[in-house]
């Protein structure tokens, strides 16, 4: 009985994973020659847009598209964010990818251009290499002689081995201190940094696993190292320009690192860093990795931001900028002028435009099926057909939202699978946007502060 209650306690501690709207996307779903598969990696349909995104992706990988912009345009719920996300997933972990929503730039603490600049610099990686000479081996024996008087220099010997060789090192005072501080004993696997003399304990050798009857839980067992004793270790790191900026802008102290609130970064600091990085590049010590900056809902940017973007894209350290919008011909924010997608014509001229189109019935069915799997819901085939119909007539987002709701209804009926009655029930309980509008029109007189059709928001 005790054991059972113990496990239930453990379950409470485990984190509940939330499922996001695009958590099922793992890539663009393309073959090696960029032909889109009908349904792969969580992507369904949108074949043309995905192929275009695939071309963009391969250009980014070759570093050719830096300083250009791509616009993904399409109606709401046609997978614009999904394509951007798939693109970021397929670029791999080494390419920096920053996703912001255009509304994020309106912050009280920072100017609009500062937020944009930070986002730009977050999307540029710098690849640098660290090279260290280390001595790595399993300790066979440590021998430390203390002088009889108690004070004075200690001398000692350290025997290290790998699977291939064994050797004895004579120890100086400093290393002996480091060894005693790290509590190194025979059977430990250690590394000694040749340049600094820093000793790191990697763990205990497997062959010594049975030396003691009781060992602490933090004891880590490792294999005896192979090959040579004196090794060269090369590690390649990718850091973003923004990370370097933040550290060199330490006017507000260390706290900035933890709170993430970096405030505005001075222009001079950025210039210095650009100069340093340029110097490294010239010496062959660093490589630039142009990443991707994704700005969602780009029509929310105003005319100042667009002119800033126009200029920033010409910088030689600019990332690939991907923007997405669901607007048609509309007003540019901050002006009275009307322009396609709410983007000024000169900006639009710089962009490659990828169009997404509404999903077909078959595709909606497929997406709903994938979402059911993602949300851990089982659904009967005929219920899926009904849900697809709902998706076609209302919107895909509404149909997706009904999945979990219908699942709850099914659980209430003590059934594992979602059936037609569940879908019908939640369809009646939660109305969609069209029905809500219809309802409001019917009863508009009975609502408070109603302005009728004249005061409606302009959406076109």
């Amino acid at each position: 009985m005790a054991a059972v209650s113990l496990t239930s306690e453990e379950h409470e501690v485990t984190r509940i994973e939330r499922i996001g709207a695009h958590s099922h996307i793992r890539g663009l779903g393309l073959t090696d020659d960029l032909t889109p598969k009908p349904s792969a990696q969580g992507m369904v349909g949108q074949v043309k847009a995905r192929k275009a995104a695939g071309v963009v992706q391969s250009m980014i990988k070759e570093g050719k598209l830096a300083g250009q912009a791509v616009l993904i345009a399409g109606q709401p719920g046609t997978g614009k964010t999904a394509i951007a996300l798939g693109l970021s997933q397929s670029l791999g972990p080494d390419t920096p990818f920053t996703a912001i929503s255009a509304s994020e730039i309106y912050s009280l603490g920072m100017s609009k251009t500062e937020v944009l600049t930070q986002a730009f610099r977050r999307s540029i990686g710098v690849r640098i290499k660290e090279e260290t000479e280390i001595i790595e081996g399993e300790v066979v024996e440590v021998q430390i002689d203390r002088p009889a008087t108690g004070t004075g220099a200690k001398v000692g010997k350290l025997t290290l081995k790998t699977t291939e060789m064994e050797t004895i090192y004579d120890l100086g005072n400093k290393l002996i201190e480091a060894l005693t501080k790290e509590k190194v004993q025979a059977g430990d696997v250690i590394t000694i940094d040749k340049a600094t003399g820093k000793i790191t304990k990697l763990g205990r050798s497997f062959t010594r696993a049975r030396d003691y009857d009781a060992t602490g839980p933090q004891t880590r067992f490792v294999q005896c190292p192979e090959g040579e004793l004196q090794k060269r270790k090369e590690v390649v790191h990718t850091v973003t320009l923004h990370e370097i900026d933040v550290i060199n802008n330490r006017t507000q102290g260390f706290l900035a690192l933890f709170s993430g609130d970096t405030g505005e970064i001075k222009g001079e600091v950025r210039q210095q860093i650009n100069a340093k990085v340029a110097e490294w590049r010239e010496e062959g010590k660093a490589e630039l990795v142009p990443g991707v900056l994704f700005i969602d809902e780009v029509h929310m940017l105003d005319i100042e931001c667009f002119s800033f973007l126009n200029r920033a894209l010409e910088d030689d350290m600019a990332p690939v900028v991907i923007v997405a919008t669901n607007r048609g011909i509309t007003r540019i924010r901050g002006t009275q002028n009307v322009s396609p997608h709410g983007i000024p014509i000169d900006m639009l001229d710089r962009m490659i435009i990828v169009k997404t189109s509404p999903y077909q019935e078959k595709e909606i069915r497929e997406i709903l099926k994938i979402r059911c799997e993602e949300e851990d819901c089982e659904i009967q085939d005929d219920a899926l057909v009904v849900l697809t119909k709902i998706g076609l007539e209302t919107s895909l987002r509404y149909a997706i939202q009904l999945i979990t709701l219908a699942n709850l209804a099914a659980i209430k009926r003590k059934e594992k699978q979602i059936a037609i009655p569940d879908v019908k029930k939640v369809y009646q309980l939660f109305i969609d946007e069209q029905r809500s509008q219809k309802f409001l029109k019917e009863y508009e007189d009975e609502f408070m502060f109603d302005e009728g059709t004249e005061g409606r928001m302009e959406t076109s």
Partner: protein, 139 residues
């Protein structure tokens, strides 16, 4: 996908094998040289510490050295000098082998269709530059 002739497949496999063989031999060579380097280091160390002892007892400035299959009794300075010379040579040789290893591993990865390890052709940052960068990474 077009089926490939057995000859091309065989050719491909033997290419991969030979590339892998090259990597392994280079690694093995580094190990052998490093072993030699370590025994030389031990010898130098004990020659130095014995020098202090024999200076007081006065057993002459000569020690044994093994060259090939022969043991020779040589003046200590000469012995130390020749071992140090060898050490220097070993260091450069190991360095050269390691540098060549990079290209060989990349070639093998390329043949096996794995992605090239990026950034290995870069020159490393210096010690104090790394100190600054490590700070930037918050470590």
């Amino acid at each position: 996908m077009a089926t490939k002739a057995p000859e091309t497949v065989q050719q491909y496999l033997s290419d991969v094998e030979s590339a892998a063989e090259e990597v392994i031999t280079t690694q093995q060579e580094v190990v052998t040289l490093d072993r030699r380097r370590n025994t030389n280091r031990e010898a130098l160390r004990s020659l130095r510490s014995n020098a202090a002892v024999s200076a007081t007892t006065g057993s002459g400035g000569r020690s044994w050295i093994c060259v090939g299959n022969m043991f020779l009794r040589m003046p200590r300075e000469f012995v130390v000098e020749s071992i140090e010379k060898e050490q220097k040579q070993l260091d450069t040789e190991i360095n050269n082998l390691r540098n060549s290893l990079r290209g060989k591993v990349n070639k093998l990865n390329d043949l096996e269709g794995k992605e090239e390890t990026r950034g290995t052709s870069l020159r490393p940052l210096s010690q104090d530059e790394w100190c600054a960068v490590r700070q930037a990474l918050g470590k």
